[in-house]
Each structure stands twice: as C-alpha cells, then as structure tokens.
C-alpha cells in the first residue's frame, strides 16, 4: 500500500479549440477518498477519462497504481472500478443480467444478487436498462464499478439524479469502501458531498486546480476569518455597509440577494449589521454566523457559482 493511487503532473488535454485541462496536478495516496469538486465543464470528467485509459493526454504525466493508463489500460482496468458519467449498458439488458455480465469478467466478484439488494435494485432486477429511472441506472452503474472488488474506484458524479435516500446510501458505501482500504476518486459539484466524504478535496475550474487540501484545511484557510451571511433584497449598497463596519471587514453580495460579511464576527458586529439593515428598511433573513463552507472557498477563488 505504499504506491500512490494516483499521480498527475501538469496534465493538459484539449478538444479542438476547447481546453479541457490546462495543466493540473493531483496526488492521491492509496486508500484515500479524493473528491474532485467543480462546476460542469471544469475538467472533472476529462480527468477521470484520462485516468481510466479513455483518451490520451496532450502533455503531462498520469500514473494510476503506478501504471500509465494510456498504454496499460488493459492491466489497469483489471484492478480498478469505473462508474462513467451517465452509466452505460445495453438498452434491452435486464438490470441483473448486466451486473452478472460485468461480474463474470472478474476473478473473485462480489455476489451480484447481494449487491442488487443492497443498492435497492431488487424490484428492478428484471427491468430492461432503458426503462430504469435515472437514479436506478446510476445505482446499477455503481454496482458495476464495485462488483469486481477493485482496489481503486473512479466514480464520476455518482449521485447525479439520485434522490436523498439513494445519495445517503452511496455515501455509506463510499465510507465502507474507504474503511476496507479501497481508494475512491469521486467527482461532484455538490460541496456537501465533498465535505461529507473526502479526505482530500481538489477544487478545479477551467481545467486548473484552484485549491486543494482536506475539507478542514480549505474551510479554515484563514483562521481568524469568520463569516456572517444573510439574505435580503438584491442590490444593497455595500459601500455604506462596509463603512458602518470596523476597519478590515468586507461585505459582498455573493449571489443575487445573498450577502457575506467576512471578519472576526462578534456580538457587536452582528448588532452593527442588523442596525444598518434596520436603518435602511432591509429585512435580513436567514442571518447566520459560521465558518466558511467549501462553496464560500470556491466563490472566493473563482467568483463563480459552484452549483451549476
């Protein structure tokens, strides 16, 4: 378990005029859960594809379990599990039939029947793939990624299209995988997911890594910085609010109607903000004092909204 699960150096990939990856670096120790977090089009799927041997990089270096996915995809795929974005199966194949087919490719697969039960697909065993709901197709795809007892799994947006119960089931599974020593690289644009699951979070945007670290490190980057958020009508004059606050505090409208005050938040500051609001006839809703979330970090780094 000394070999890193994944090492990526200065990876570049373009599709025609579009730059999908503009030189990213990633390091993932064995048995770790790494979340690639970013909006759609950030380069998450391209990274997964290049790590699993679909496509070749324009430049840079990728090693997965010590192997080059572009030249050793056969050997590599015997050891990894992949859940491609959007799944994949014969349109007419029955759910159980598809999982048995994938299980048959592995030397010591998990019991497909057990996996179907655990993933809540028991009732859909004899349903053709094209008639499964989006969430059921996702769960079947996840089962296909796990059935071969891989040592490293790539889950590309594993919870997209799932209801909250199914999402929590997937989270439970990822935690069980980690506990059993399976490395997990997952992509997501849900910060709750990254915060809940990952040992390491790598935030990507426009094909570059904009931040990396544990969820704790990322959200506590500046220890003194705290925040106060509230919602109100859009377009408040923040210069006035900043003037009312002590020196060094900032106030931003992060999304229309969502306001963020950064600085050491003490009772006096809360009082100043609410008093300022009262003065201007503004009703501050959902007023909250707390530490930063990954979404805040992302917004600060990119100025873009994460959920897209």
């Amino acid at each position: 378990m000394t070999e890193p699960a994944l090492q990526i150096e200065n990876l570049v990939k373009t599709y025609g005029a579009t730059t999908a990856l503009a030189g990213i670096d990633l390091h993932m120790p064995a048995g770790c859960v790494l979340a690639l977090l970013g909006p759609n089009g950030a380069g998450k799927t391209t990274t997964v594809e290049l790590c699993t041997g679909f496509g070749t990089p324009d430049s840079g270096r990728v090693r997965v379990l010590g192997m080059d996915p572009a030249t050793a995809s056969g050997k590599l795929r015997e050891r990894i599990g992949v859940m491609p974005q959007g799944g994949g199966a014969y349109p007419g194949v029955l759910a159980a039939e598809m999982l048995r087919l994938v299980a048959a490719t592995a030397r010591h697969p998990l019991d497909p029947e057990w996996l179907l039960r655990v993933l809540g697909l028991d009732a859909a065993r004899r349903t053709p793939y094209k008639r499964l709901s989006g969430g059921q197709q996702q769960r079947l795809s996840l089962a296909c990624a796990l059935v071969s007892r891989p040592e490293l799994v790539f889950l590309d947006e594993p919870t997209a299209g799932m209801d909250p119960q199914a999402r929590h089931l997937v989270w439970e599974l990822v935690r069980a995988l980690r506990a059993d020593g399976v490395g997990v690289l997952l992509t997501t644009h849900l910060m709750e997911e990254a915060e809940a699951l990952a040992d390491e979070v790598v935030i990507v945007d426009h094909g570059t890594v904009v931040a990396a670290g544990t969820p704790g490190e990322l959200t506590a980057a500046a220890p003194d910085t705290q925040q106060l958020t509230f919602r109100a009508r859009t377009g408040l004059d923040l210069d006035l609010l900043t003037a009312a606050l002590p020196e060094g505090y900032t106030a931003d409208e992060t999304k229309p109607g969502a306001y963020l005050v950064c600085g050491a938040i003490d009772p006096q500051v809360v009082s100043t903000v609410t008093a300022w609001c009262a003065q201007h006839g503004v009703l501050a809703e959902e007023l909250q004092v707390g530490k930063r979330t990954l979404e805040d970090v992302f917004l600060e780094l990119t100025g873009r909204e994460l959920r897209s």
């Binding site: 015997e78 014969y90 039939e97 490719t105 007892r149 059993d180």
Partner: protein
Amino acid sequence: MSEPTFAAGTFRPDPGRAGLARILGVQALTETRLALRNGEQVLLTLLIPIVLLIGLDLAGFIPVPAPRVDTIAPRILALAIMSSAFTSQAISLGFDRRYGVLRRLAATAVPRWSIVGGRMLAALAVVIIQLVVLSVIALLLGWSPAASGLPAAVLLVLLGTAAFGALGVLLGGAVRAEIVLAVANLVWFVLLLAGGIAVGARDGFAAIVNFLPSGALAEGLHTALASGGWPGWQPIAVLAVWALVAGGVATRTTRFV
C-alpha cells in the same frame, strides 16, 4: 430503502480478471439472448424470412421452376444472413453506442478484442439458429438441397456472415443511432429487391449485382444447393474481399465510445 451498514471487509480489494474463455462466452451468450429477446430484431431475422419462404413457395405469382422451394430456400437463407449480420447488427450497435455499453464494457477487465469477438460469436449464433429454423421449414416444404454443395454452402455462410457483419459494424459504428436505423433498413430493402436476393440479376445488371455481397451470397448458395458442387471462385472471392475491406475500414472508423 433502509440504510445498510456494511460489515468490515465487505469490499476488501481482491481484483483480477476472470478467464478469457469465460468472459468471451458470457458476453456472446448475453448478446445472443438480447438479440433473440428484441421483438424488432426477431421480426427482421426470423419472421420475415419465414413468411417469405412459405409465401413464395405457396404463391405462384413469381415464375420459378419446380420444385419452387429449391430456388427459393437458398435465397431466403441469404436474406436471413443479411438481416441478422448486417441490418440487426448495425442497428443494435448504433443503439448500444448511444447507451454507452461499449464504454461500460471497455472500462472493465474485458479486453477490446473480446468485446468485438463476443458480438461476432453472438451474430454467428443467431445465423445458426436462423439457418436451422429456415432449413427445417424448407425441408418440410419439400426442399432437397444438393448434398455435394453443403461444404461450399457452409463456407459461403461463414464468409457472408463475415462480410455482412463487417459492413454492419462499419455502419453501426459510424453515425448516430437514428441514421443507422434508417440506412440499415433502406439498404436491406434495396439489396433484397435489386441486390440479387429476391431474383438473380440478368444481363448487364449481373455484372454489378454479382459483385455485391448480397448477389454473391444468394447466387453462390443457389448454385451450391440447387446444382451441387462448388459455385466457382467468384462468389467466394467477392464475399472475402467485402469482409476484408469492410472489416479493415471498420476497425479504423468504429468508435467505441
């Protein structure tokens, strides 16, 4: 869905690939089952040839020397091979690509050649089922194929399956599923009527038609099974060239993903 907790060690890694024979076998079996379960494919590969076989034998409106079934049966076998190896194959590949199955399988321990090989074996299995069913019906209608033509017929069936199969992969792996559907059906119809399957070409057309895979297969099977012996080099060479050229192009153009 209750949230299960997983016993420690449930997912303990133990990766590795199964035996290649097992992978290939399971894949061929799955694809064969899928082909036989698909209503439209069965209509095209079995029901239409059966109806044409019985209908053309009983209805006298197309002038054919008696016993009529001796002329009709080999042509229906050629039609059946074209239907499954080309049309069905192209359509299912087109939609399989749309549904991401090639990518899904490629992401497992299945080697690429086995993904292609599994499809080929499944196509061959369907052809064998077609030939058995159609031959039994033809024999019941009084068909008496020439025994001396059987080795040639087997070779022609294999080459015909390879040629039409390669053309099916070439088409199914090249364009969008809806376009595959339209083109595959259109080609089927044109080759049936004008490609030497329904009737042998006469005069000037023969030069073209006998160089088509449809014409070569139908004429070759007809000669071998009606007259016996070997049908000459031409149908065999024509089918072999189509198989090699289409297969060569298909390996370059077919998109797995």
